[in-house]
Every structure is written in C-alpha cells, then in structure tokens.
Subunit: 377 residues, 2 copies
C-alpha cells in the first residue's frame, strides 16, 4: 500500500469548508428566535458529511498525483475540489433519502429524520421558543422540508468551494464546467432511477439495459467519471476519452457490486442486513437477469413479489434463492470481473499515454480497486 492516506485531511477539510459555506457570513443577521433551528441544520450538514470512505476524493487525488509525479504545490487547492465532490454527494444523498423514504444512511438516521428528531426535542424543551403542530406527519413534513433545504445548501456550497479555489490553481480550465456537468448528470440520473422503478416488468432484457444505462448517469458520473475528469484537468492533462474509458466501466462495476453485496455480502461489513433491496422492491440488474433466465414458476414468483405492496422475510429468502438458481448472481459476478479487466486495460492505456511512473501506475490501479471488493474483481 503506497497510496497516501488522505482520509484524515479530507475529513478535516470538509468540516472546515461546510462551516465556512453554511454559517451565516459575518455582518449578516440571523434572528435569535430562528437561530436554534438554523444551527440544527448546519450541525446536521456537518454530521451528514461524516463517515464516508472518501473514495471519490481519493480517486481524484490519485489520478492527479499520478500525472503530476509527486505532490505539487497545487495539491492543497486540488484537495478542496476533491472535498467539494464529497460535499455534493452528501447533499444529493439527503435528497435521495427523502425521495426514497430511507431511514438510515451510513448507519445513522438519515438527515431529514435526524432533523425531525431535533425539532421535536426543541419543541419539548423549555430552552427553546418553538411550537410545533401536534400531528406527527406534520412534524415529519417540516423535517423533510429542512432536509430539502440542507441538500440545496450543500449543493450550492460544493459549487462555491470549487469557484473559490480554481483561481488559485495552475490548471483550472474546464474544472467548474465539469463539476456542474456532474451535478446535472446525477440529477438526470435520479430522475431516470425513479423512472426505472416504475417501468413494468414485462420486458426484463430491456429493463436490464435501462438499469445499466442509468448507472452511468446516477453513479458513474460523480463516483468515477467526474473525479477522473477533474483530477486530469487539475493536472493539466486532457481528460477527453480517457476519463470516461476508465470511469464508466468502473462506476458501473461499483454499482453492480453494491447491488450484489446487498444479497451476498456480510451484514457486519456492509453495515445493514442483507436483502434490503429485495425488501424495498428495487429494480436491480439482478432482478432483470433473474426474470430473463429463471423457470416459469420462479419468474411468476418474482413478478408477484415485485408487484406486491411489500415483501416479507420469506420473500427475501425465496427471491435470493431464485437469484442464485437462475444464474443471476453468477452473471453479475461475471459482469463485474469483465468490467474490472476493461478498467485495468483502460488504466494501462492512460498510463502509457501520460507516462505514469511504475509506482504511479500501481497507485492508480490500487485506488480504482478500492471501488470493487477483492472477491468480486
């Protein structure tokens, strides 16, 4: 392991940046009676930003380091851009959790639920001058409203971070544009993801193609393509073709692995019980593959289970069995390992073209490998 351990520096810098961009600037006035709620939103912005693996920031720094050779004078500035991607992700996940009604994120209550709890605590404490409606669903709606605004604040902050730092970078051309492009791609991807969830199950091959295409928008865009594109731009290299050649397949493999681990992962390692996606009725490539290649009886079971209002523990067990017996899990493993070979080839080509040292080449491969669990590569 020769990768620089940037995680503590990234974590530290993200908190500084959130503080700078979310707190009301000096000279502006937040009325006292509203300050408690605003403080709760900023605090939630901090805690929602904690605890990620920082894969995206590290990928950006890794390709930048590989191209510039060693730590250049620009690296602190580039670090801010890397942090901005993480801040953007946090904001996007907050909106995502509201849309998906998700209760948990990184093992903690999702932001809108945490904000609902904070509001409820304030309303029942005598230290605060806050009166809430009595109906629980109204309080939950206010929490969701604060969550929408926190997501918006983090999205704005992420762009502002990039806009503040690019004038101090040697190679800044195109970076803000690439960053805004990433925002848009993820937003389009979220719409497509909502759409895929409501496409009928009649044509599983079409569903599988659609799901894979959506991965490019909603996951690869900001997970791998944008970090590689921006890291290359910051190092003065032309990302054209190169970033997409590595990033599209790596991001797709990352999402496929994520969906697969939900079925075959170790609950202790993934931080949640397996089968969550089945319980939620999520339209995965595993489902499409299973629908395409299972027995008529199993196929009927899947159709019934996934069009029902909800799925219980028995369904999770039976669907898991069908995913195995139909060969869907094996197909997903194969897809992931094929994609990983393609990614390695693409890295090799980029490495040659941009004259990476052996060590730099090795570091980029190692950083990319972090996106896919070892037993799936």
């Amino acid at each position: 392991m020769t990768l620089p351990d940037d995680i503590p520096a990234i974590n530290h810098r993200i908190l500084e940046l959130i503080d700078r961009h979310l707190r009301a600037p000096a000279g502006t006035h937040i009325p006292q009676s509203c300050a408690d709620i605003y403080d709760a939103v900023v605090s939630q912005g901090q805690s929602s930003n904690e605890g990620g693996k920082r894969l995206r920031a590290r990928l950006l720094l890794s390709i930048y380091d590989a191209i510039t050779g060693s730590r250049s004078a620009d690296r602190d500035a580039v670090m801010d851009v890397a942090c901005a991607i993480e801040v953007f992700q946090t904001g996007a996940l907050i909106h995502d959790d509201i849309i998906d009604n998700s209760d948990l994120r990184r093992g903690k209550p999702s932001a809108h639920l945490a904000l609902t709890s904070a509001l409820t605590r304030m309303a029942t404490s005598e230290d605060h001058d806050i009166a809430l409606p009595s109906a629980v669903e109204h309080i939950t709606h206010i929490g969701a409203g604060l969550g929408i605004m926190l997501g918006d604040l983090l999205s704005t902050a992420s762009i502002d971070i990039v806009n503040d730092i690019t004038p101090h970078m040697e190679h800044a051309d195109g970076i803000l544009k690439a960053f805004l492009n990433m925002h848009r791609e993820v937003e389009i991807g979220q719409v497509l993801d909502l759409a895929v969830e409501h496409v009928s199950l009649k044509d599983p091959q079409r569903l599988s193609q659609a799901s894979l295409a959506v991965f490019r928008w909603k996951t690869a865009s900001y997970t791998t393509v944008a970090p590689l594109t921006i890291g290359m731009l910051a190092a003065g290299a032309d990302p054209h073709d190169e970033a997409a050649a590595i990033g599209s397949d790596l991001g797709t493999a990352f999402q496929l692995a994520d969906d697969l681990l939900d079925i075959i992962g170790d609950p202790a390692r993934i931080g949640k019980p397996t089968g969550g996606d089945i319980r939620e009725g999520k339209r995965t490539v595993l489902l499409s593959d299973a629908l395409s290649s299972s027995s008529p009886q199993d196929r009927n079971y899947l159709l019934n289970a996934y069009t029902a209002e909800q799925r219980d523990d028995d369904d999770v067990r039976e669907v898991t069995r069908i995913f195995k017996d139909s060969g869907a899990i094996e197909a997903s493993r194969k897809r992931i390992s094929t994609l990983w070979s393609t990614v390695q080839d693409a890295i090799n080509r980029t490495s040659q073209k941009l004259n990476f040292s052996d060590e730099a080449h090795h570091d980029v491969i190692e950083c990319c490998s972090l996106f896919i669990p070892e037993n799936l590569r």
Copy 2:
C-alpha cells in the same frame, strides 16, 4: 414609459436556455423506457418557467442600462445572467411549494402536483410501459420526488448559464460569486422562514423583528439585492453598499406589499382569493403587529385561531377585521411607503455617484416602482 420592453426576449431566451441545460446532451443515452418520464420533467421545467413578471431580470437590466448609458455590445450576455436569476427562482419556488404543500403557483398546479398528474396519465395510457403503485399517497410522493429533482436541475442550470456566459462579458469579475451567494442566502432564508412559522406567538414584537429580518434573506436577496449587485458588476461598477442600500429596503417593501395584498388586494388582480395567508396560518408582520396592538379579546382570538390546526372562512373574516381594527394594516402601509421613500433616496445617491442621465435615473425609479403597487407607494 421609457423602459425597454424586455419581457418577450426574456421569455424566449429562458425557454432556449432551459432546453439546452435540461435535455440530455448529444452523444449521451437516456434509455427509452425512462425517456417519457424524463421528457415530462423537462416539459414541466419549461412550463414552470412561464408566466412570471420577470421583475428580477428587468431590474438587473435596468441598472445595467443606466450605468452603461445605452444598449452596449455586452447586453445579450447580460440578458443571459438576468434569465438565470429567473430560472433559479423557478427552481426555488418548486422546492418551496413542496415544503409548503402548495397546490397552485402562478395560477397553475404547482410543479410536483403537475408531475403527479403526468405520471398518473402515463400509467393509465397504453402508450407507456409504466406501472405505478396503487395508493394515491405513493404516487404523490413520486411526483414530489420528481419535483425535488426538477428544482435541483433548474438550480444547477441557473449556475451553468452564468458560468457559460461570463467568459464572454467585458466585466465578469465577481458575478458568479454573487450569484452563488444569492443561492445560499435564499436557501438560508427558506430555513429561517420554516423556523419563523414555528416560533411561539408569545412575543409578537420579537416575531415582527424576526419576520422582517427573514425578508432580507428569503426575498430581498434574490428579488432586488442580487439583480442590482450583478447588474452593477456587469456594467463595471462597484456594487458595494449601493446595491444593498436600494435592494434591502425595496425587497422588504415588496414582501410586505405581497403580504398586505393577500388581505386587501383585488382577487381578480392577484389571481387568488384574499385571505390565503390567514387560512394557511402564515406568520406575517401583519399578524405580529395585530398581536402587539389589538384588544385583549382580539388578541386571544388571534392566538386561538393561529394555534388551531386550521382556519375557516369565519376566521378569515374575523382575523381580517382584527388586522384592520388593530391598525396592523395601516402600520404595514406606512412601513411600505416609508421604505419606498428610503429606496428613492438611495437611488438618487447612486444616480449621482454613477452619473446617471436624467432618463436613466427615471428608468431605474420606474423599474423599482414595479415592485410595489401604486396605491401602496
């Protein structure tokens, strides 16, 4: 009336810009099965952007024209920035309507409701391959999810529009920063607005002060201060102090007038029945003033009405009477006309400092006057 009639050009350009920034770029692939839903989101983005009075864009152009003397070569570029403020506003209002559960916007169904209807139409048509959950609240939740994403897309588009055009402007320094600052101020303002709605009614003077402070964040920021700041920057002038001196008071007067018209306006002209704010239990400055200066009996009535779960037609009538009898309506009128004098003084100072021609000075006054109905100035 010597103000240039920019409204048709603004409307036309906004639709072009939305199309460019929301459609998937050439060479990217949106899977067919998701395309219908994505198209519905883009169409809603277009129609949500229709029908505004374009006050913000016109204020930006008005101060820019006043400083540059006549129509300069840069004006088309500045027009894009003016349109970007309108696009930002539309996105912010879409999130606002989700947060406030508002059914109507500019006399049409709000975006999240229109998207819910579009989904329902697609699910019941044979031309689309879409299956929706049967429960209405689930469909509404999906519509709200698409609304959140449309708001995000428009927010990103607004920034991208500015980032694309500033390299083509003679004076671009600070414009993107001011634009991002506006985003953040409005987002902070929305949080504060949610907070004000849940401050207890025990201390009406404090509530009134808080409401007025929130107006600066949530309304004046993007309605007047940012258009003036950005218009001045685009014309190569220093907006420091000047933009805030005119904009803060003008934006506050605009919001006070908006709240007042909800009570005393002509339903035909404001496009909705009067008393909507009372029905919603909105914490206005009118309410704070009435709580401060009404008889104990009327005060009790207000406290009961505004802490109840809902308010009926009788409440609207009685609260309106109390607003009148307590002097709250008169106080609001006075506040507005005092603010309008201050605004005129501030315009006069800016006009002298920046050597406006008589005609330019007159045009800026006229443009600012559009923000406040004639009988309230």
